[in-house]
Symmetry: C3
Subunit: 470 residues, 3 copies
């Protein structure tokens, strides 16, 4: 063990074959310093409003990261050992938790977490040894020191990371005060919101009924009538848009959409309000609301994102004791062809709509998503998501979507993260992975190198900027 | 932009690694000039009967190609801009349409359409610059000139392409007059038909009832009784066989088969004729008819092909305005293990039957199709189909089927195209892709090079000829 | 044809790229001579108890191997030509059968059977020419001679193969006499059993009711009451454990589990005993029994394996004439996320349970299995199974599971075979495939070489030993 040198190799993630690697290097050189467009993510706008120092490495890098929690938990560590769910008087010292992390860091070999964390350690913190049992204590001290320095204040990191725009995600019930404070502060970093209406669109969302009451209070609309409810949503979309939002985001269990008659919509809404609805009613309501949202997107121009297909909180014991987002969300087989048809029948032919689809079911790439996006003007494919935001995941995504959907029906990279310090690492992985894929096409004479340069630029920067209207 | 050189690199589609590439080159040299066996496709026999010049590049290369239409449409172009669906007085000049195509040709980067089209441009038309906005006008003039020359008449191209046999696909209601004219003309090009009975087997096919009336008129059989209906089908199969057909083809929504009792078959047929059938009845009838067709194949020796698993005409607005086959067909998850069981229970053990399976659901390659074909004597795997007729699609096909089904339960390549000029390009892609795959096995010492040479020859020529009895 | 040299290339299965191959070679050198841990397989313990010479090459290498039978059958050979299902007076001479095998050995090109068999021929038998029509007769004579020699007695081969431990699989109704004879003999080869209770857990298993009667006789428990039935199972688990078992194995059609109330369990058991149960009842009973087995595993420490998702005996004609395991088992789509939830809700958070999951549905690797194993402490992923126990299958497994589950939620290699002579070949393929995968990660700077050495050792030896408590 002891001190093993940590360095980020200049050729990491490039194919070993010399011809291909040389091309990948050249492509990457063209794009590595491009500004970061982060059109979809989960950082906390308060960080940039307050601009206070991050507390410590554990609360910054470990506890909020469900990738890290899930792996450590799977290897037999308890959540308590990671500092979660303990009463205040039994809380572990963060240094002890970090040591535990170091003791098990080898468990991350071969995972993207390892790539991202090493990038953060080496590039953001300037550390030059691998994290393990022997180095964990030094790691903690070194990072804790850095975090207290001015250079590590959120806004300074934002600028150092060369972020051109960063989107966060908020509920329609959020007053966006932190975004307003950022604007009011005069700081020029562009931190915008995105409209995530699940809490008021999904009848099975915790607190749904209360959320509609709050929505009424915020908007002055009668959210107990379907027309008032839609008017309230329109008003909040407008509010978000005025605070910089260019997109909405929808995290439904499935991709199902519906296009009911006005009478059926109103009856369904009444059923939902009555509380006596079945799971199938809830699914149908969410389905109808996706179509309503697409209609509103055509009115207000907000880009629409759908992130379906996850069994959230699969582990009830964990949910009860430690809450959501602790790594117990599991992907499901996800169907798109029939699910999206009602929405597509109504709006799919309109190039003025941008509907960005994500999936955790890779089988849909070549079978459903690429053929759909390679036909409907309204559809675009989001980048490989969550478990597939990884070198192998990105390779499969390009290999399985490009031949049918091309590159120009995709929208560049999303980091989709709450792990702020890893944003440059994640974009760097994507830029390298795309350079590697393009390099193979060039090496196999399926693409000219000048075309690959243009594409590399588009995949790293241009497509995200255009698709998200940034 | 301007003039970027277009050339077909001698090593295109071969892996960059030098060892592997050298092997791939050697394998490809052995097979590149083999005659083309095209046992399944959709060219128009009238071309070879009439032997008239093709009209223009747009009506030849763009408008009939659903791969091209779907991509341009997905990028926001209207069908009208591509010259479809316009009243005669508003029709666009083909040169204008071609310019639009040139303006958006970069959208095809990374797709097989780009590979096929570049091959057609460079190899068939002798063009040496890449198609783009600046070169589109010259392209049109050059190609239009060529198309008027004797060398570009259909029969001359057929011979230049070194096609040994080309199968077209016809409805049982077709009188095969063009095939007869070809034979009568004394031209020696071998253009045969294939029996595609969907219009008279699928109760949901447009005009089904009228089709049975026509079938009765053609055969003198009573197609209102199940036995007369079967007799009529037998008669048409025989007619097709006498016009060169060696195969049938079935494009059902699923792979479902059935094996009902005689009484149930007759009752189902009556139900279908009554018009009061449900979608499930229609599905069951198609299922039963696949088993009937397999039985007839054992009688007359016609090879049977099943192409299941497509949601046809997913976009109703497009269908209504512009008709079928405009790029709005989307693959569906497709199940084979239970679906094929009734047919296999009855005929699957008979090596005298050849049943060739295709899929658009790549998940079935390793899970269902290779295990089925690697067991049942009657089953063989068709080549990667449609969206998967591409370099990556072919690689996945070989990687996912070979270890369980081997090579000798596959049937070589099908171009499956109506784009006549791209036939050499498509076979060339397949030959290169197979050479590349075999080269990897040789380079990794999983196959001897002399074995790979034999296999390359079989995959390019021998297996198709044998499986389709050509 | 004639005599083509057969040699096992030192670099077989390594990537051709020189950089990567050099790394793979170094990794493989570190592990190639490690002892074999075979924690799951189907060899016959009688071989090692009797230690008699194997009869002949056909009955040893061909007839019991369903991989070989299925391929030859698919290519049109009858089972009778392979010596199966014939009355004694019509039995073919094994030499004739071997000649038939030689005549069709080219059909195995590109399959793992070819890799394993060539390894057996070259390395175990010392043969230096490829099997084909011209060499088959010499092959037979040479092998038959070897099999009569002392060096080829089962125990001597076991030792020559450097097997540290070999697990067989037995029914709870087995008295384990052969295992006892091995122990009594004083031979030090470690041949242990594994507890495979399908015959007494699956109401649809042939002879289920009689099996319960036998179970009662063996244990003195009343297997007509649910509590007595459970007590009998506990007793047999204990008996197996005392004969070396460290694991159980469950071959259910699906991965479904259940967690019924005590009252519902008893009612279901009564229904099953009554014989009037539906397929859904049988499925529910199997589901409940998996959960019961997991509970018992927490009591007695036996590691639990689930091998779901096969349509057994898909070909009824073959089953009727030639029996089970002749190559007519076909994988099915297999769902894990909802299926395993009842069991996981109850026991999934307990690191004291080890539940090893296998699949024949590769789509579940990245979508379901890696996310589940990368979260639940009780879950581990078994190696690629059956059709996927192959170079491409192993590559896909690592590529699709590692980024989410890491390496330490996997359990090393299982050969899962009854083909005793191929055990070294199978482990060698796995060691080479893992070396190749790790080498790519090192070459792409995603892993340090010293980490890869440690991992190679764990994947070849350490993880199996630890996971199976050997």
């Amino acid at each position: 063990m002891m001190k093993i040198p940590l360095s980020l190799h200049a050729d990491r993630l490039f194919p070993a074959d010399k011809t291909t690697r040389d091309i990948a290097r050249r492509l990457y050189q063209e794009i590595r310093h491009l500004p970061i467009i982060s059109p979809h993510g989960h950082t906390d706008p308060r960080w940039f409003a307050d601009n206070l120092a991050f507390e410590n490495p554990v609360s910054l890098l470990l506890q909020p990261d469900h990738y890290v929690l899930r792996m450590l938990y799977s290897l037999g560590l308890s959540m308590e050992q990671l500092g979660l769910g303990q009463a205040a008087d039994r809380e572990l010292d963060p240094e002890v938790i970090w040591q535990t992390f170091g003791d098990h860091y080898h468990g991350f070999r071969g995972t993207p977490s390892r790539l991202w964390l090493d990038h953060v350690f080496a590039d953001v913190f300037g550390i030059d040894v691998v994290l393990n049992s022997d180095t964990a204590a030094d790691y903690y001290q070194h990072m804790q020191g850095k975090l207290q320095s001015a250079a590590f204040l959120p806004r300074n990191l934002f600028e150092r990371f060369n972020i051109e725009v960063l989107a966060t995600t908020e509920s329609p019930l959020d007053d966006l005060r932190h975004h307003q404070r950022i604007v009011n502060s005069g700081w020029t970093g562009k931190v915008i919101t995105a409209f995530r209406p699940d809490p008021v669109l999904d009848p099975e969302y915790e607190g749904f009924h209360g959320n509609l009451v709050t929505l009424a209070a915020l908007t002055g609309e009668d959210t107990q009538s379907f027309s008032g409810y839609l008017a309230a949503l329109r008003q909040r979309r407008d509010y978000f848009k005025r605070h910089g939002a260019t997109s909405t985001d929808h995290g439904h269990p499935s991709a199902r959409t519906a296009d009911l008659s006005d009478r059926d919509k109103a009856a369904l809404f009444d059923n939902i309000l009555s509380g006596g609805f079945s799971p199938a009613d809830a699914e149908l309501f969410r389905a109808q609301m996706l179509t309503e949202m697409a209609g509103m997107s055509l009115e207000d121009g907000l880009v629409m994102q759908i992130h379906p297909g996850v069994y959230r909180n699969h582990n009830p014991q964990l949910l009860q004791r430690f809450g959501r987002d602790k790594g117990a969300d599991i992907p499901l087989p996800t169907e798109y062809v029939r699910a999206l048809k009602p929405l597509l029948d109504k709006y799919g032919n309109d190039p003025a709509l941008t509907l960005i689809l994500f999936t955790l079911d890779e089988t849909s790439y070549s079978r459903e998503l690429a053929p759909l996006a390679g036909h409907y003007p309204a559809l675009k494919l989001g980048p490989p998501w969550w478990f597939h935001d990884s070198p192998e995941g990105m390779r499969r995504y390009r290999e399985q979507t490009t031949e049918t959907a091309g590159f120009y029906n995709t929208v560049g990279f999303n980091d989709d993260t709450r792990a702020f310090l890893s944003i440059p690492a994640r974009h760097d992985v994507a830029r390298r992975a795309d350079s590697a894929f393009l390099a193979r096409l060039v090496a196999e004479h399926r693409l000219l190198e000048n075309e690959a340069v243009e594409l590399a630029h588009d995949l790293a920067y241009g497509l995200a900027k255009k698709a998200y209207k940034l």
